[in-house]
């Protein structure tokens, strides 16, 4: 029926009748892409995703989740929980066994150029060829229509990268900064970063946080996976925690601090859900009954969720 209505409109503007039929897929994709880029909607829709590197060892079992633009998501999980794998699924680098994955209206497994130019993927381990930045840029930037050369130059300056040096001769941290600068300059709508702060020195981590905060726009969705939760302090607005083949927690920082309070206490009582011994007593997580303001301690939350999953579930269901 929709198709028929579309065809009527087309005959009205005197396009050949078979125009829609021949280009239906392209038109649909273009329309969906425009829609996704101009509205705050679910940019990523994961439905009953099942994935495993071997059939007997599933990594995700019926995982479902929605991610929207205008957010910086922090993806946390133990080693082997599937953080990198989830990111790879989103970028179409690996294939799900079953379930559906929708990224800006595309199936990432099809690896269509229209989607690929909207994805900036910063892997944990990467390779850069033995050329200078200029040559790398000349070869790769033209694939991204919105590539911002000035922004790239600014980022390279800010990161203090020696532009005359060949990429292969740079340190791991410098290479990482180049690849981050390149990824952000592509103006991709979906930014996926796997352990981006690994290998960065202390000043660079602060620069990274500043750059990422300024790179955030309403059109963008940024997903950052990390073990070093302190590197993401004040940067992420939503926490996603993976555990036992599924999403253990997906909540905004606001929601978490509204429902939980993070405190230093001298003694443990029944109201405390989880506590860790510290020099001056205990770092504790407890329900926020009195709407107290506290700073989210991601490391504590992470350990708390893993240890007391059942207690937290009703709070964030």
């Amino acid at each position: 029926m929709r198709g028929m209505m579309g065809m009527k409109t087309l005959t009205h503007i005197r396009l050949p009748l078979n125009f829609f039929q021949n280009n239906l897929e392209i038109i649909k994709q273009h329309h969906t892409l425009v829609y996704y880029l101009t509205n705050t909607v679910d940019m990523i829709n994961i439905n009953n995703l099942n994935f495993g590197y071997s059939k007997h060892k599933p990594l995700f079992k019926n995982m479902s989740m929605r991610l929207s633009n205008g957010h910086i998501y922090g993806l946390l999980g133990k080693n082997g929980a599937g953080k990198s794998t989830l990111l790879k699924n989103l970028a179409g680098l690996v294939y799900a066994q079953s379930g559906t994955l929708d990224v800006m209206g595309f199936n990432p497994a099809k690896r269509q150029p229209a989607l690929l130019e909207q994805i900036c993927f910063i892997p944990e381990e990467f390779y850069l060829p033995s050329v200078k930045i200029d040559a790398y840029l000349k070869a790769n930037a033209p694939f991204y229509k919105k590539f911002d050369h000035d922004y790239f130059t600014d980022l390279i300056k800010e990161f203090d990268i020696p532009v005359e040096q060949k990429l292969i001769n740079m340190s791991y941290g410098q290479k990482k900064k180049v690849i981050i600068a390149f990824g952000l300059a592509t103006q991709a709508k979906l930014v996926i970063m796997d352990e981006p702060t690994n290998g960065l020195d202390i000043p660079s981590k602060a620069q990274f946080r500043k750059i990422m905060a300024s790179a955030m726009t309403d059109e963008r969705c940024i997903i950052i996976s990390t073990h070093q939760v302190r590197d993401l302090d004040n940067l992420i607005d939503t926490v996603i925690m993976l555990d036992e083949n599924d999403v253990a927690l997906k909540a905004s920082v606001e929601e978490i601090t509204a429902k939980l309070t993070f405190k230093k206490v001298k003694e443990i009582d029944d109201s405390i859900i989880y506590a860790e011994a510290s020099l001056s007593g205990y770092n504790a997580v407890m329900p926020n009954y009195h709407q107290e303001e506290s700073k989210l301690d991601m490391e504590l939350l992470f350990n708390a969720i893993l240890a007391e999953k059942i207690k937290f579930k009703p709070l964030f269901s």
Binding site: A91, E125, Y127, F143
Partner: protein
Amino acid sequence: MNNTFNINRFGLLLKRQWLDFGKIYLISFGVLVGVLTLFYAINLTEDNLKYFSSNTLNFRYPLFLITGFLFVSIIASSYFIHLGQKPKAIINILIPASGIEKFLSAIFYTLIIAVPTYLLCFYLIDLTFVSSIRATHTLTSSYTDYQGKKVIIDNVAYFFSTKTVKEFYQFYYVPFLINAVFLLGSIFFQNFHYIKTAISLMAFVTLWMTSIIFIMNKLTNNTVWIGGPYWQDDNHVFFVMSLMGIFLTLAFWLISFIRLKEKEA
């Protein structure tokens, strides 16, 4: 945006791939030039030229076939080598180009560029050495054909003008088939692409030939051929072999394309 094929994007991809593949290609080409020159130089020493005969230049046939096989197979086997290493594979898979564009760029470099450059390289080296011999030597032989016509053979002929090479046309599909097999190997195997492909190829050819001989022996043992003379003609047999070669080439390319699309990182 056309997600299947876009000529501008394809052009960009060719340019980009040169950054990765160019070095491997140029090194292989340099080695090829060195090997060919060396073989010509070793076989055409002053001593050998003193006793120049109709067999002196025969080393060129095995040289052409062996170096041709090695060059085409090494180039094809190197193209997708990066897909075996995750960091490189991720970058290459995420380049905004379609699967068909990525596959065609492989065909462009490993076949459309590699085979003509090999032929040109062999031609130029042969031209250089044979021209210098022709300046000082002439050697012809002759025979009378079945029509009573006298045929004169130039024994210092350029490689591509020899009668033997002109009969190679029945094997024109071979470089394509070698390309298809080794291209598939470079996608299929995670590491040691060349060795694994070569071993698989040898195993497959051995198995194929053994089974054909075994089956034909079983079928024709104690029998007499009563059919027409069609299969007694070499040209017909070579024609069928060419068809099979073309079919296998297309099949391997198709499998390579599918494997490339499905490659995970």
